[in-house]
Symmetry: none
Subunit: 400 residues, 2 copies
């Protein structure tokens, strides 16, 4: 008990420290903005090596394991999320820009979504991936949606391969289904991550095809970020993701509510939010869940992290799509980083899905904040996408 109390105190103390850190980060941000005019990109390094910052990092690391034990041995209601050091994570996992690298090495992402009704969402997700720094971004959508999504931007590669019930006769379903799957399979092995759901719609035939795509992705060990109608699909078919450590779910309030009801047979509990999220992620076999909210909460069933960087009070539709595209890129980078890094990598968390969520959440929030400071109430999703590059540059300056 004594040990637990000490841990509790450290935790409380750490929350205060977090405030200091946030202030420090803000200061750093302002200084960086100003100093970038003087061509001095090393300010980060100076601040990062300050004793306060290092002590803070030590505490976060120490608590990484501490929290875990605490969860299992003490009162469940006591679990709190630890604010993630998102900037350090982004700096660690973002690959160096090296002129000797070739096309594709910084990431190849595919978005599965876009139907007769929705075309904006898959575009937002796919273009966000490019703006974060992926080399290639594909969209697999229905035939109707393709020309429109293509017309939004020549930067995307758009495949008009999905089909909805209204254009498929009952007796042709089997043939067309396997044709769709074959079209996607041709490309599957090349992708570093799939984003399933933005603008997918809920057509039963289309969702059946997408279920198969998910099964194939899983067989090939390709990470999957699931949002929007993709969450509708998996909530009723949990086997599609259950036990797949490379699956990320990014539910909003309503999608989260349905998941909790379905999986935990209970209602959403705001007081013990961290504990409930942890239980949910564990119950689905340690998938990673990014619960969107005032603070984003992230859990893989082992640990709970939060990202509370101030974003924007605008709630225009489409921001979730930016997030899913961003998480996909960072997840791929984290995976590369972890498989390449020697044992000295000082990231306390080794789950690329969790790292990808933390980085994507922080990036989205920074960009939203920047866009809002320019456009205020008239901020729309495209404005936020336009700020992704600057936000990443502020945290992780390109090395040339």
């Amino acid at each position: 008990m004594k040990a637990l109390e000490v841990l509790h105190d450290i935790l409380a103390w750490d929350v205060n420290k977090e405030c200091c850190l946030l202030m420090l980060m803000n200061m750093k941000h302002v200084m960086n903005s100003q100093l970038s005019f003087l061509g001095c990109a090393n300010t980060c390094m100076l601040l990062a090596s300050s004793p306060v910052f290092r002590r803070q990092q030590f505490l976060i690391r120490s608590l990484g394991g501490g929290i875990h034990h605490h969860t299992h041995s003490a009162n469940m209601q006591d679990l709190r999320s630890v604010e993630a050091d998102a900037e350090s994570i982004i700096q660690a996992i973002t690959p160096a820009l090296d002129p000797s690298r070739h096309k594709g090495q910084a990431g190849k992402i595919a978005v599965i979504g876009g139907c007769r009704e929705y075309t904006g969402a898959p575009y937002f997700a796919a273009i966000s991936a490019l703006k974060i720094g992926a080399d290639l971004s594909h969209v697999f959508c229905t035939k109707d949606a393709a020309p429109v999504i293509k017309s939004y931007s020549p930067e995307l590669i758009v495949h008009p391969v999905l089909e909805e019930s209204y254009s498929v006769r009952e007796e042709d379903r089997k043939v067309i289904s396997s044709k769709v799957l074959a079209e996607v399979d041709k490309w599957m092995e090349r992708f570093d991550c799939l984003v399933i759901g933005p603008g997918l719609g809920r057509d039963p035939f289309l969702l059946d095809c997408v279920s198969e795509i998910m099964r194939h992705a899983r067989q090939s060990n390709i990470p999957i970020v699931i949002d929007g109608d993709g969450l509708f699909l998996i909530t009723d078919n949990l086997d599609l993701v259950s036990g797949y450590a490379l699956a990320v779910l990014t539910p909003n309030v309503n999608e989260y509510k349905r998941l909790v009801q379905k999986v935990l047979s209970s209602e959403v509990n705001d007081v013990g939010a961290s504990q409930q999220l942890l239980s949910l992620a564990k119950k689905i076999g340690n998938v990673t869940i990014l619960k969107k909210g005032k603070s984003d909460l992230i859990s893989d069933g082992d640990t709970v992290k939060s990202v509370s960087i101030y974003g924007s009070p605008r709630r225009c539709g489409g921001q979730g799509d930016i997030l899913s595209g961003s998480v996909a890129v960072f997840l791929s980078w984290a995976r590369q980083h972890i498989s390449a890094a020697d044992s000295n990598s000082n990231l306390s968390c080794k789950n690329p899905a969790v790292l990808g969520c933390i980085a994507g959440s922080a990036m989205m929030r920074k960009a939203a904040s920047l866009a809002f400071s320019n456009k205020k109430r008239s901020t729309v999703t495209g404005d936020i996408i336009g700020c992704l590059g600057k936000s990443l540059e502020d945290i992780c300056p390109a090395n040339s």
Copy 2:
């Protein structure tokens, strides 16, 4: 033998000089960046007239022939590429802007590419040609792709004439094939250069039609720049380009590998890269090959030049399309320049295909560098296209 040793020494000395030149160029670049704020675009000219710079240029010119002899008479492994003086070449071949000239005289380019799957690539190639300074830019693509490519820009003339297998019945193939060819032939004689391949896809029927288009272009002595799926086509049908001096191939790492395997029955050799490229170009009957890489290497089977101007570490898809469109314009200009210039033209190289490649490569790199300095990791192909005009203006200011 004595003469060869002297040549060798000059070559070694020249490599050191190259380093100095690169440093000088970097210095110049930095000064340019700063001075551009002061509206002073003439710094280039000042530096270009410095004695060191002029001596360097003299040496490069002198070595133009020397290297060639060296290749054939001495150890093949010793061949090194000579860094091309790209800026002088661009200045020499870019036509003067003369109010008495009329529409079309600065170049009419056609891109053959764009199918159901790909629409961005042909757009990037065609719009780049216009942004470099061509007067007219056409795209010949499939019926599906045309409305999308048209929607990217009203500046392009887009012909929906190509057909893919899925929309052609077996028994109609012959009729449709000759119809496609007739449609392209109507325009053929007007073009100064074709770009074949961006977003072409690999449909067998479509590629058969394109093979015929290439044969007709060749009969009409129209230069052809071949990239992407066009390279896939010619690698299996080398007769299409073999011995055609106005053919340019622009392979990336993977496309080059396939070419080397097919033509030289060997693997890519990084140490003797210049020699292998020279052999490859010679073996395909002195076509010009632009091997894309950290430095671009260019050979027509007689000489090897390199372009190492610093570009960008971003490897977003679509940059190859900018290059192919740019090479097409510069090749046309070089051809005009050579046929118009009196014997006093001080360009050591007289092959318009090589000159076009050097100019296109340098322009692409400068634009990429400029775009990257603005957009960093979020740089996409459209950003680079937006910098083509400024890059050309920096090297070769419009005279009005």
